[in-house]
Symmetry: C2
Subunit: 330 residues, 2 copies
C-alpha cells in the first residue's frame, strides 16, 4: 500500500461510538442540547453512561467515517488520529482497516483511554452526541506522516480538531503539506457550536486554506452569522473554490466557482438514525471528485451515500452502493 496514491487522507478524532436509544425527556433531564455535539470529561461521560439505556458500540469519528465511506465506495483512503492501546482502540483500528483504510498512527502508550462518543438517538432519528475525547486529545503534529499526506489527492480535515491546541497545529501543518505537494484541502465545519467556538479562525481558514468546504445549514448560517439560509449562501460565494451545504431532507446546495446549483435529497423509505449523514455525504462527494467525476455527479453520489447511512444505526456505510454509483454517474 505505502507509496500508492491515495484519493483521500482524513484527519480527525478517533472515536468509538456507543449508540443508545433515548427520548426527549432523557435529553432534557440531563441538559443535552438536541442534535449537537458537546465535549465532556470522563466523569460526566461515566455519569451519563450510567444513567442511559443499553447501547451498541461501533467505530466512529467524523473524518474517520468519511475515510471508511470513501473506501467502501472503492476509493483509496488513509486516516490519521489517535487511539489508546486498549480494547476500544483495537476495535477502532480493526474496523477502519477492515474497510480498507490505511491507518498507521501509533496507539498512545499511556494516558487516557480511547475516545468515546455517546450518541443518543431519539425516536425522530435525530442524534445528540456527547464526546469524551480521551486519547484523541493527544493527537498532534508529530502524528502526521508527511509522505502519506503528499500522496493523497485530498486532505480532509474535521473542524472538531480546532478544539484542541495540538490537533489544531496538526491541522494547519497538514494543510500546508498538502498544498506544498500540489494537493487539495477539504474541511467540514463539523457542528454549529464548533463554528461558534472558532468562528473568526474558521472564516480565515475557509478564505485562505480550504479548497472544498462542507457545511450544513446551521453551520453555514453560524459561520457568517446570517440566520437566513439564502443570504448565508450568498455570503459563501467566492470565499473558496468549492462549497457544499447540506440541508437534510431538503437536499444540498453546491457553489462551484461562479456556478451554483441545488441537488435533491435521495428518497429514503424510513430514516432510522441520522448519525454520520454529513460524514457519508462528504465521503460520496470526495469519492466523486477524486475519481474525476462532474461536480453534479459528485453531489448525486453524496446524496445516495447519505441516504444509505440514515436507514440504519451507526455512522458508517454497510453497503457499498458500488453498482448504483458506478453505473449512473460519470
Amino acid at each position: 500500500m505505502a507509496g500508492q496514491e491515495l484519493d483521500l487522507i482524513a484527519i480527525g478524532n478517533a472515536l468509538v461510538d456507543t449508540l443508545i436509544h433515548a427520548d426527549d425527556t432523557f435529553l432534557l433531564e440531563h441538559g443535552l442540547g438536541k442534535g449537537s455535539m458537546t465535549l465532556i470529561d470522563v466523569t460526566r461521560a461515566e455519569q451519563l453512561y450510567r444513567a442511559s439505556g443499553p447501547g451498541i458500540e461501533a467505530s466512529g469519528g467524523s473524518a474517520a467515517n468519511t475515510a471508511a465511506g470513501l473506501a467502501m465506495l472503492g476509493g483509496r483512503a488513509g486516516f490519521a488520529g489517535r487511539v489508546a492501546n486498549d480494547q476500544f482502540g483495537g476495535v477502532f483500528r480493526h474496523d477502519i482497516r477492515a474497510n480498507g483504510v490505511e491507518f498507521e498512527t501509533p496507539s498512545a502508550k499511556e494516558g487516557s483511554p480511547t475516545g468515546r462518543c455517546l450518541v443518543f438517538v431519539t425516536p425522530d432519528a435525530n442524534r445528540t452526541m456527547q464526546t469524551y475525547l480521551g486519547a484523541a486529545i493527544e493527537f498532534g503534529p508529530d502524528d502526521l506522516d508527511e509522505s502519506q499526506i503528499a500522496r493523497a489527492k485530498y486532505t480532509f480535515l474535521e473542524g472538531y480538531l480546532w478544539d484542541q491546541q495540538r490537533a489544531k497545529l496538526a491541522f494547519l501543518q497538514a494543510a500546508d503539506i498538502a498544498h506544498s505537494a500540489g494537493r487539495k484541502v477539504a474541511l467540514t465545519l463539523s457542528d454549529p457550536f464548533c463554528v461558534e467556538r472558532h468562528r473568526e479562525e474558521f472564516r480565515q481558514l475557509v478564505e485562505n486554506h480550504v479548497d472544498v468546504l462542507f457545511a450544513n445549514e446551521a453551520e453555514i448560517c453560524s459561520l457568517w452569522q446570517i440566520p437566513d439560509f439564502e443570504r448565508a449562501i450568498q455570503a459563501t460565494r467566492g470565499k473558496c473554490p468549492l462549497a457544499v451545504v447540506t440541508r437534510s431532507e431538503k437536499g444540498s446546495v453546491v457553489l462551484a466557482g461562479n456556478k451554483a446549483f441545488a441537488v435533491q435529497a435521495a428518497p429514503v423509505e424510513r430514516v432510522v438514525d441520522t448519525t454520520g449523514a454529513g460524514d457519508q455525504y462528504a465521503a460520496g462527494f470526495l469519492f466523486g471528485l477524486s475519481s474525476g467525476r462532474r461536480i453534479e455527479s459528485c453531489a448525486r453520489i453524496a446524496c445516495l451515500t447519505a441516504a444509505e447511512v440514515i436507514t440504519h444505526y451507526g455512522a458508517r456505510l454497510v453497503t457499498t452502493l458500488t453498482d448504483q454509483v458506478m453505473a449512473r454517474f460519470s
Copy 2:
C-alpha cells in the same frame, strides 16, 4: 432490589458479541461450520478478527440475552456470569443493568479479558459463532449467590456452561439450591455440537434435574440421536415436566405433561439476523410462565419475542412488545 422475588435468575457465559457481515466463502475459507458455535482460543480469535470485516459490538451471552429479554418484557431478572475488569466488561455490565437486570457477580481481578463472541452473519440471516470465553471461563460455584437463586421463580441455565468444569459445578449447585428452595430449573441445550459433547450427561440432567427444557430441532435430535423430528419429539415425552422445541420458521412444539401442541411462528417481514432467536424465545416463554400465564400464551409470547429479535442485528430485544404481550395473552 435485593430481597425482592425474581421471576428469573439466568446463569451463563458473560460475553460481548462482535457482529460481522460475512459470506459463505468467508466461512468456507476459514473452516467455520455454518450456524454453529465453536469455542476458540485467543490466538484463533485474533486471527479470525484480523481477517474479518468491520463489526459492531453488542452485549451477548445466551442466558444473559434471555435475562435481558425477560426484563424488557417487564419481568424481574437477575444474571450471574463472569466478566473481566476491562472495557468490554464495563459494556456488558452497563447494558444488562440498563435493561433492569440484577447483576452483581464481581469482575475477575486478573487473568483473561472479558469473553467475546465473533458472530458472522451471512446474507441469509444465519449466524455462525466463534467464542473466546476469556474471563467467563473463571466462573465457578463461588460466584453463586444462594439467596439470589432462592428468591427466583426460575433458575435458567445454558448448556454451554457444561463445557467448563467449574461452570458445570456451578450449574449443578445452582440447580440444587433452586430445587431446595422449592423453585424450578430451566435448561437450554444451547447448540447441537454442545449436545454432542455432553450427550449422556445432558440426558441425565433432563430426566433428573430439569423442569423446563428448551431445545431447537437439531439439538433435540442430537440429544436422543434420532434424526427424525417427530420421533425425537416422541422420545422427549415424559422425560421432564415441560419441554419446548423450536423449529425456526416452522414454529415450535410444546410438550406439557400429557399435552402436546404446535405453535406457529409469528410472521416476520424481513429476517435480518437470527442471532438470539432461541434466547429471546426462552425469554418470552419464561416471562409467560413466571407471570402465571397459560402454557399456550407462553408459547405465543415466545414466538413474538423471537420474531422481534430477528428483524434487526443483535441478540437482544430493542422494543418491549409490552402492549402487544400484555393485551393479548392471559
